[in-house]
Symmetry: C2
Subunit: 205 residues, 2 copies
């Protein structure tokens, strides 16, 4: 990783921990192992570092599509996978995706930074919303909708069913971001959630 990238990387770490305004260019420089003025050889100013992070974040988000997608971008294929999967292995898959989103370095820091900075900037709020609300609900809604169409799950309202599936995941993710020591507890609850979801909406019936 070159210096320019390392600056962005360390800046993201710091911004996600303390927020833009509480991070000094000197802090970033120190982490990178250079002096503050040297940063200006790479970026016009502090704001430009922030902007580069956002741009990078958008780039990566576009690559990935919705959060908690399964194969990554094709709900049709994913629904087929689910269809033949036991409840237990579905739970395992759900948990490992949860852990991925919780721990993956970029994902995690982006998410925390967005949480902190979202009110400064209307645009960041909508990035956050798209990433953690609209995209996951849309993707998962598609997936669950297909399982309903195949008679594997039953519901009158797929949208609400999707909310019932995803909202607990979202909430537990925000819990763990704030109090990482509660991860174990969250995993337990999440497991019970998946199991009960499956029961309620019909798989094991």
């Amino acid at each position: 990783m070159n210096t320019k990238q390392r600056i962005m990387d360390e800046a993201l770490t710091l911004f996600s921990e303390k927020g833009y305004a509480n991070v000094f260019v000197g802090d970033i420089a120190e982490r990178v192992g250079i002096k503050a003025p040297s940063l200006y050889k790479h970026y016009k100013n502090k704001q430009a570092i922030f902007d580069a992070i956002i741009e990078e974040m958008n780039r990566r988000f576009e690559e990935k599509a919705g959060m908690l997608h399964i194969a990554g971008n094709d709900a049709r294929k994913d629904a087929v996978i689910y269809q033949d999967m036991s409840e237990e292995s579905m739970i395992q898959l759900g948990i490992s995706l949860f852990k991925y989103y919780l721990h993956d370095d970029y994902t995690k820091r982006f998410r925390k930074m967005l949480t902190i900075e979202q009110f400064h900037d209307k645009e960041l709020a909508s990035v956050y919303m798209k990433q953690y609300y609209d995209d996951p609900l849309s993707y998962q809604g598609m997936l669950l909708g297909m399982l309903v169409a195949q008679g594997i799950l039953q519901t009158e309202n797929v949208q609400v069913m999707t909310l019932h599936f995803y909202a607990p995941i979202y909430m537990l993710l925000t819990v763990c971001d704030r109090e990482p020591e509660r991860e174990e507890e969250a995993i337990q609850i999440l497991t019970a959630h998946f199991r009960q979801f499956d029961r309620i909406y019909g798989r094991t019936k």
Copy 2:
């Protein structure tokens, strides 16, 4: 409201919009209608204003007990109320509580400020968690548990049932905080959520 209170009030508004570090004491003073140095007649420094807000917030939170509680502090009584209530009136109650939490001036500003500032300070994170996770789940868990005991609702796992009830409310609240123009949409979804919850867990069965 005296000047000291007005300072706290305006500061809370600004902190909830921009975060502590992005608010200047001059901004607060201007809103109050005085000059920055005059603030120091009331508070030792900027941090003291922030601390006073937190103290006030804790005071009010203690008064109120969990979020989205019903009568306010006695799940036993609330459960009796629910028991005799039609699905429609339960939905109306749910919606009006949601709107209360969304719009109530203090509640809303506290919540936004906590969201922004929670990562600066471990203590704030736990205030947030208590207020928006532990307390509501505990209160509502008690409430729903009683309805289960009375055979009005059915479930094998009250904790997960409570999560299914509350997580969508929490998530939709975070949506509306970020994109207030989506309130109408959120209310629709929330209504469908309550209805489906009632159906799933047995009331109308």
